[in-house]
Subunit: 342 residues, 2 copies
């Protein structure tokens, strides 16, 4: 076996031209069965493997799609990725998962790399709202679809209505009789966080409560660690001012807070009711099953990928559009006292 066989070698061995080999590879129906057979055999014997770089060079774009997420460690994003990947795989496209880690410079680095690779397209949850690099990439003809982020202007996006989701969550807490509610999340520069805060405020207002019924507890990140830290913070608040329920901007925060609260010997939801956001698998599996706002994560990824592919294939006729899914509140024990445990 040669170091690496090319299409020329295959052609020589099968006694045909390179064009025919290429046809066998890409449009097998156009070549006569007997020749096709001969070529396939030559490919097999030589252990020929297509050179993707050469294909890409010729095609002008690659067959990889970048998926840039804020946090690979958050199951929300890996589930989303799984949904997106399923669609891509069925079309022979591959997805590379890029973790911006909520860091603008990392995001920029990945975007530059995808641009050099002439990516087929990009799905991204941008770190901030300023997206000059994204605009520049789009201008180069690489389609970009925003995921889990509603587009402002003339671009495609797939998102979930964060306002509605948090209204559901906070209204539920109010229905349960809570009058001092905490909102945990941050930084506010993350659009999802500010949207969810806005929804929470709207729910408080709609219930006719004063706006100070809602206490904002800002965190620097949206992870388990910060959730636990929030437990510390809450403990320092005098009991009569302390929220009796909190709404967390995502499940990682909620789980961290839940763990800390239980460890302090407090009861959930008795002493503190907790609602999360995303409904990751961990939520149902927590020590006290977590009430959470379910987002159609996998479907989100699927829809985004379908839109991206549509834009990438019929670029001319394509019209940008924004898909918005509706979230759903899943009520579990972290907000509603169970019959048996009363």
């Amino acid at each position: 076996m040669r170091e690496t066989a090319s299409v020329v070698d295959v052609a020589a061995r099968a006694g045909v031209s390179v064009g025919t080999v290429s046809n066998v590879l890409n449009r097998p129906e156009r070549v006569a069965p007997s020749t096709r057979e001969r070529v396939l055999q030559a490919i097999d014997e030589l252990g020929f493997v297509r050179n993707e770089a050469a294909r890409q060079l010729r095609a002008g774009r690659s067959r990889t799609i970048g998926l840039v997420v804020l946090d690979v460690r958050n199951p929300f994003f890996t589930d989303l990725a799984a949904g997106a990947e399923g669609v891509a795989a069925s079309l022979g496209l591959s997805v590379v998962l890029c973790n911006s880690n909520d860091d603008t410079s990392r995001e920029h680095h990945y975007l530059s790399s995808l641009r050099e690779q002439r990516a087929f397209g990009i799905l991204i949850t941008p770190v901030g709202s300023r997206t000059s690099t994204i605009d520049e990439i789009r201008r180069r003809g690489i389609p970009v679809v925003l995921v889990d982020r509603a587009a402002r202007g003339n671009e495609c996006s797939v998102s979930v209505n964060d306002r509605v989701g948090s209204e559901l969550a906070v209204s539920h807490l109010i229905d349960q009789g809570h009058r001092r509610i905490g909102f945990v999340g941050g930084p506010l520069s993350i659009t999802q966080v500010s949207q969810r805060l806005a929804g929470a405020r709207a729910a408080v207002e709609a219930a006719g409560l004063s706006s100070d019924a809602l206490t904002m507890i800002e965190t620097p990140r949206l992870d388990v660690e910060q959730g636990r830290a929030t437990g510390e913070k809450l403990a320092t608040i005098p009991a009569r001012q302390r929220p009796t329920a909190v709404f967390c901007a995502n499940d990682l925060l909620a789980l961290g807070l839940l763990q800390d609260t239980v460890r302090r010997g407090l009861s959930v939801p008795g002493d503190l009711a907790i609602v999360g956001y995303d409904d990751i698998d961990f939520a149902a599996a927590a020590t006290v099953p977590l009430t959470s706002v379910r987002q159609p994560r996998s479907q989100l990824g699927k829809a985004a990928m379908e839109m991206l592919i549509e834009e990438a294939t019929d670029g001319k006729t394509h019209r940008h559009r924004q898909i918005v899914f509706e979230p759903e509140l899943i009520v579990r024990e972290s907000t509603v006292r169970q019959a048996g445990t009363g």
Copy 2:
């Protein structure tokens, strides 16, 4: 601005040859400062972006490294990935994270794709032990380093001594007075699992206990869900035969089991002591902080990547070697009753 500027456009604008442009890009010191300046300006004005596919075609290999893991949702692997990525990034190489999800066909699919891309190298935790595709890829000149898996024969690997890790864990449980110990994990086809089981058995034997002191509880997967299911299983065992301590093959299992146990109103470690493996961040943050076997995850990724790059750059002089890290037992409350809670 043209659709997309190439190196010839840049050359024309700067009034030099394409060779010079290439030199500015790759060996700037070889070109006179004044020309260099002129070329850089042309690049800027035209918004020129290198075409990675063309580079790769010429170079014969790409600048991406595949990292194929068993489960992206397990923080162990994302931490490992972070370590590996750090090293790669400093050399201008990019890492694509591929999730085999413990499925042979997915693994094969990713490997084929990486082969077509003429990957710079591959880091992989293989699903099974049969690795014919890997051998084939290596024969093509793509270096492969096994991670978290000791190599059998003539190949590079970076792993952690699983036998020692589980001996530490089980000896610790025996030291705490436990005489009926459960081992939770599976499937046994995963090398890590069988190694950890072997270590557990060795520890039991070393302590002079009968081999039925160890109860095997096999699971189909290593996730939180299965950990909870294990709780169910344990509950069905008559109290006098039920293990008083369990050693789980990874932290996800341990956390699931912990959650289920606490929910049943049992005390940890009073009614059941639990040890996990990996010491993921979640372990310390659990309702009852989890005793776990710490693996140098990030370092593992770093070392593997360094080896891979070494093999990829001096292919001739390179000699395969196997690095084995030693694990460390981190004792927390899930096995040792705290003073206050007695």
